[in-house]
Amino acid sequence: MNLALRDIRHSLGRFVLTCLGLSLLLGLVLSMIGIYRGLVEEALSLSRTPRADLWVVEAGKRGPFAESSRIPGDTREVIASLSRVAAAGSLTYQSVEALHSGRKLRLYVVGYEPGRPGGPENVFAGHIMTRSHYEMLADAKSGLVLGEQVRLGRNVFTVVGLTRNQVSSGGDPVVYLTLQDAQRLQFELEPPVARREAERGAPPANTDVVNAVVARVAPGIAPGQVVEAVGRWKHLTALSQSAQEDVLTKSVVDKSRRQIGLFTVILLAVSAVIISLILYTMTMDKVREIATLKLIGAPDSTIIGLIIQEAIAMAVIGFSLGTLLINLAKDHFPRRVILLPEDGLALALVVLLLCVLASGMGVRLALKIEPAVALGG
């Protein structure tokens, strides 16, 4: 006879409510892990989109994401001319804030050369840019739709394609413009400023500047060889793709990543305390029944089994409900929440272990209960 099952059935409402509370807590833990994964994934997605083997930036800088980098627009030709490089593309990056349809729109603008490495290879709606000016690809998270027109700087751009999961490390949705449009947006001076500069005798602003050049190496060539070759030029620095990803995760989002990681650990510790208290209270509520079982001769294993089986049931139901809950809610989070099966499995094992360990308090209490308690003594 399974006593745990019958006890649960007897106080089903209370047990379900307890499991629901636990599921919310575990859902929170799972969402934190998902947010952590999402943060890293979002940070990396921008650097992975060009599918580059190496990044060329201003000398002494660590790429367009960690530090500002400005290099001449013709750097792409120089890099492309290297025998070990198969293809290269210029890129610009900048954050903009525009007022659109009465709302503030924060966007991360990437300028690239369609047909060369740097932009998205496909879109889930619309098409890749076909004209050299005034078209844009926007991430679905921006809320923009196909055909919508957005004013950025002095020009109006039409959304011709929509991408998914393209956001900056800060969580702003990415829009892609042609390199020339992006350069003008970033480097062209406003007319009054340009006039004043002209009157001062300054040369016209040079807009043929990019933030980085990405390159793909020829088949059979190790990116490290090209990195080494570019490194010999004193005005440029080259980083491999893995070095770029390292910069992003260990510099750009490092603090956020560690903060979320620490918060997740704290949340797990809080969960452990709460689970312990729940199991302890559940045992406290059964003192008389446990004493009666002991008095009639039930062995310790029967009583320990009752407590541990209820703990396991609580862990399984709480975790399953929590997982279901977070899977239903994850798309409503402002930033990406990535739930990996291996994270879920690891958390399930941790929760199971926590519940079994936490039930130790209840078991200790149960073993201390004197059978005489059943006689009222």
Binding site: G297, E370, A372
Partner: protein
Amino acid sequence: MTGSISASPLVDIRDLSKSFGQGDARVDALRQINLQVYAGQVVGLLGPSGSGKSTLLNVIGCILDPSSGHMELDGQVVYDGGWRQKDLRRLRLDRIGFIFQFHNLLPFLNALENVAVVLEIAGASAEAARQRALELLQYLQVGHRCETMPSRLSGGEAQRVAIARALANHPRIILADEPTAALDSERAGVVMDLLRKVAAEQGAAVLVVTHDEKIFDRFDQMFYLRDGMLADMDGPHTKPNGLAQQH
């Protein structure tokens, strides 16, 4: 009134004492107790609060070790130094049935399961346990309530289920702690008649701790406990079969 009474007692206590604390704080809860209860006999144990009734019940129920003295249950010497908690539990499971003031049925098991659980703990198969539990409930005339949860049983029904549970493993000794305190006169009488029936038909020794005067006439013998000392009570209902004279 008693059915089968054997020559050797099922509960045999000689010079048993129990004290708590040491030095000036020492309390002698039981002093030089001598008590024999035979198969088929229903014995009452009376006494004011703090007289040691519960302590004596706990010692006989193998819950509390005596400080000194000799105790045999169903011919087996208990507390001779070789007993572990595990063995005492097994002894309770196999030889002793407990009946409580407030029935103490497990609230999450129905009437049938409350009886069957004792049998399953003792090693019976689920089916055999259910069968025996049902027989017992029918024997105690609560078979029709076997699927009912304890919270929905009346006081008398719950106490009968508790008696069925106490009888499940064919115990030789039944210890009852105020089994009628929560019942009215009629139901108290029914419960005591059942205990007498069980003692007579199953040859069990029944020891009842009580304050309930309305059931005094149901005992074969009554003992009075005061300040830890036991005295045999005189009266028309105390020695119905001459046992007291015999011992």
